[in-house]
Amino acid sequence: MLVLLKMLQSLFKTLHSEGSPGQVAAGFVLGAGMGLTPILAAHNLVLFAALVLLNVSFAGGMLGLASFTPLAFIFDPLFDRIGAALLRSQALQGAWTDWYNVPLVPYTGFNNTVTLGSFAAWLVLAVPIYFAARRGIVYYRATWGARVMASRWMKGLKASKAYNVYNWFRPE
């Protein structure tokens, strides 16, 4: 329950005041990367570190993660095909073979069809996701934001705050 409340808190903080739309959208893109690709992969450590260390919205990242994880399950067969096509591409065989034999690189799991396919899909979609998210946040804040913040259940939600670790990661 606490986790759910915190998610909702982060969602609304994200949408309302925590950082500029660009910062929220950038965090959202990084979270989307973690959501689209299998979570237990080495590259997600890099994405997570970037989300924490870069001055982007951490809550936006969590929102991106939560939004894209269900989509990833739906699109896994497509990712599998994309990854298989890339890994079997004759033009890329040399590059894959080099990477496969470089220390630590195999731990990224790039030679897995779903991991590579989903990562490639995220790379392609990152820029459209960024602009779509930024536009959506701007639109929300201009139209629905004030009403939602003034609503009774939003006040209740704010009052339920017990602990907010996200403050550590609030965009400056």
């Binding site: 924490v52 260390l53 001055n55 073979t97 470089v102 220390p103 731990y107 030679n111 069809t113």
Partner: protein, 610 residues
């Protein structure tokens, strides 16, 4: 004026470090357990049987893994383990580990058990696992390719109850098929002969020859002679054509009659099978000596070959030749696993390599160990390693009344040509499991003995030998199913209980598609001879009655077929040469008359003098 935008959030470093610290603590707490469970699952999938690991410890600083209490269950006997290892230590190559490759530099082992009893029966591994599928396919292969004679014995007086259904007899079907072919051939041959109409042609030729014979060439006009000669030539061409057609008919019939002769032989073979079928209904024992070896020890020897075949196929599946990229299923997870594609490179580490290992269990350990094993070149990518995988072990394992003697050799070459896998194993002083003999109520307890086993697979070709020698076997009978001393079981029991020395040899050969298995034992002749002495006369009578029962049903049909065949062949044998002879005679006569007529006509012509 707005503050300068900062790219980095430096204050988050603390929480990030805290996060990694938590990750390290979780790793320390749970990594060993996760690795142990994953190792158990992976090995169970690979070997198609339950694999237990009591504890597993990853020593990151030493690049080593300690495994304790490894137990690999026997996939065909859930109550025992094939191998138990008390403590295993693997020293890994850290450089290869950085490339996510497992290269084991050294293995040390303490405490080894072979074919030990399990405290709890092994659970069945997933039927969808690749090795479980291979085991299932091998079982189907064995069922499909091998049948062993049943030793099911019944009372000899059950002959009275023999009732045969003609529909179950192969002879009836074979006769029907041959009769159909024979009818078709006879009809076709007769139609062809009728179309040739040799008799009509001969009549015409004879009539023309008679007419020519009465003509005087000097009194006949040249024009008439010319017309008659042309008519005779035309008729001779028809005679010649008819002769050729007759020869063709003869040739066809000869070829088909060879097939019919073969079919008749098949009818006879079907009749022999029907005799065997009738004998089977009577449950009469087969007194041919090799039948006993195959019936008694065929299934148990085949089970050993099946096991070796499964592991050879597992090796061929997981250790493919060549360097081409190849796929294996991705990691198990909530999301789609996908496939892991490997990109091996020459002169690089294979994904898995056990460079060299030695196991030495010195005397005094567990009372009487004197065992040494060495192995090397065990790799998932032999094309990279280029050498065969070998394993050799010999010695004695103590911890029991009499130490178990082991000699083992394994050779596997999956590089530079067709895959070759072979193994030899010799176990001495091994407590052999009881053997239930199918079809008869007897159990054989071999006691302590020696088992020899050799198996080789190269491409599609397989070869193997399984031997068993036990000097003091015991036989047990289910007395409730032995119907008195005069029954076949009773008589067989009287023979078997006196036989205590057992020697069995099974030889496997051929290809996977067409394998052969010959099983012989020293019991064969003894059992066959004793039974023949005791049952011979009765069996002969019973067999004669079984043959009679079959003959009553199929005898008339076979006789009719034989008669029909003989008639047809005799008819052809008589008619074709006769007509051929008539055609020849008519042709010769016509030729003679034509010559006489044309010579006479020329003789009358006045040739002017020059």
């Amino acid at each position: 004026m707005s503050a300068r935008f900062k790219v980095f959030r430096w204050r988050a470093i603390g929480p990030l470090l805290f996060f990694f610290a938590v990750f390290i603590v979780l790793w320390i707490l749970f990594a060993d357990g996760i690795a142990r469970r994953q190792s158990e699952d992976a090995l169970s999938d690979l070997l198609g049987t339950q694999v237990d690991i009591r504890h597993l410890r990853i020593r990151e600083a030493d690049a080593a893994v300690d495994i304790g209490g490894l137990a690999i269950a026997d996939p065909r006997d859930s109550t025992r383990n094939l191998i138990e290892a008390e403590d295993l230590t693997f020293d890994l190559d850290p450089v290869a580990l950085a490339e996510k490759k497992i290269v084991i530099d050294r293995v040390s082992l303490l405490g080894l058990g072979v074919l030990t009893r399990r405290e709890t029966p092994a659970r069945r591994v997933s039927a969808d696992g690749p090795t479980a599928q291979l085991i299932r396919q091998t079982d189907e292969w064995a069922r499909d390719k091998f049948t062993f004679p049943s030793l099911a014995l019944g009372r000899l007086d059950s002959l009275k109850q023999l009732v045969l259904n003609p529909e179950h007899l192969g002879t009836v079907k074979a006769v029907t098929a041959v009769v159909g072919r024979l009818d078709s051939l006879a009809g076709s041959a007769r139609r062809t002969l009728d179309q040739i109409a040799a008799g009509t042609l001969v009549d015409s030729a004879t009539a023309l020859a008679d007419r020519l014979a009465v003509l005087d060439p000097r009194k006949t006009s040249p024009l008439e002679i010319k017309n008659l000669v042309e008519g005779a030539d035309h008729l001779r061409r028809r005679l010649d054509g008819a002769g050729k057609e007759l020869a063709a008919v003869q040739k066809t019939v000869t070829a088909v009659s060879d097939g019919l002769t073969q079919s008749l032989a098949e009818v006879n073979a079907a009749r022999e099978r029907d005799y065997a079928f009738a004998r089977g209904l009577l449950k009469l024992p087969d007194l041919n000596a090799p039948q006993f070896g195959a019936g008694l020890f065929g299934p148990v020897s085949l089970a050993s070959f099946q096991r070796a075949l499964v592991y050879a196929q597992v090796a061929q599946r997981y250790v493919p030749p060549g360097l081409q990229p190849w796929n294996r299923p991705g990691p198990k997870r909530a999301r789609l696993a996908g496939s892991d594609v490997e990109f091996p490179r020459e002169r690089a580490y294979p994904r898995f390599l056990l460079r060299q290992g030695e196991v030495s269990l010195g005397a005094g350990e567990q009372d009487a160990h004197a065992f040494q094993a060495s192995f090397g070149g065990i790799t998932s990518q032999p094309a990279l390693y280029g050498k065969p995988a070998t394993l050799s072990a010999s010695g004695k394992l103590g911890g029991r009344e009499v130490p178990l003697g082991i000699q083992l050799g394994v050779y596997s070459l999956h590089a530079g040509g067709p895959s070759k896998d072979s193994m030899t194993l010799r176990l001495t002083d091994i407590e052999l499991p009881a053997i239930e003999v199918e079809g008869v109520p007897f159990t054989l307890t071999p006691g302590r003995g020696t088992v020899g086993f050799a198996f080789a697979m190269s491409g599609e070709r397989i070869a193997g030998t399984w031997t068993l020698a036990a000097p003091s076997v015991r036989w047990a009978a289910d007395t409730s199913r032995v119907h008195g001393e005069t029954s076949a079981e009773g008589l067989l029991w009287r023979v078997l209980r006196g036989l205590t020395d057992l020697k069995v040899r099974a030889d496997l050969g051929g290809t996977l598609a067409s394998p052969t298995l010959a099983v012989r034992s020293n019991l064969d002749d003894a059992v066959a001879g004793s039974l023949r002495a005791m049952l011979g006369e009765e069996l002969e009578k019973a067999e004669a009655k079984a043959r009679e029962a079959v003959d009553q049903l199929v005898g008339p049909q076979v006789a009719a077929l034989r008669g029909q065949y003989d008639t047809f062949m005799a008819d052809l044998a008589k008619r074709v040469p006769l007509e051929q002879g008539q055609l020849d005679a008519a042709d010769k006569r016509l030729a003679k008359e034509v010559k006489r007529l044309t010579t006479g006509a020329l003789g009358g012509i006045q040739i002017p003098k020059l």
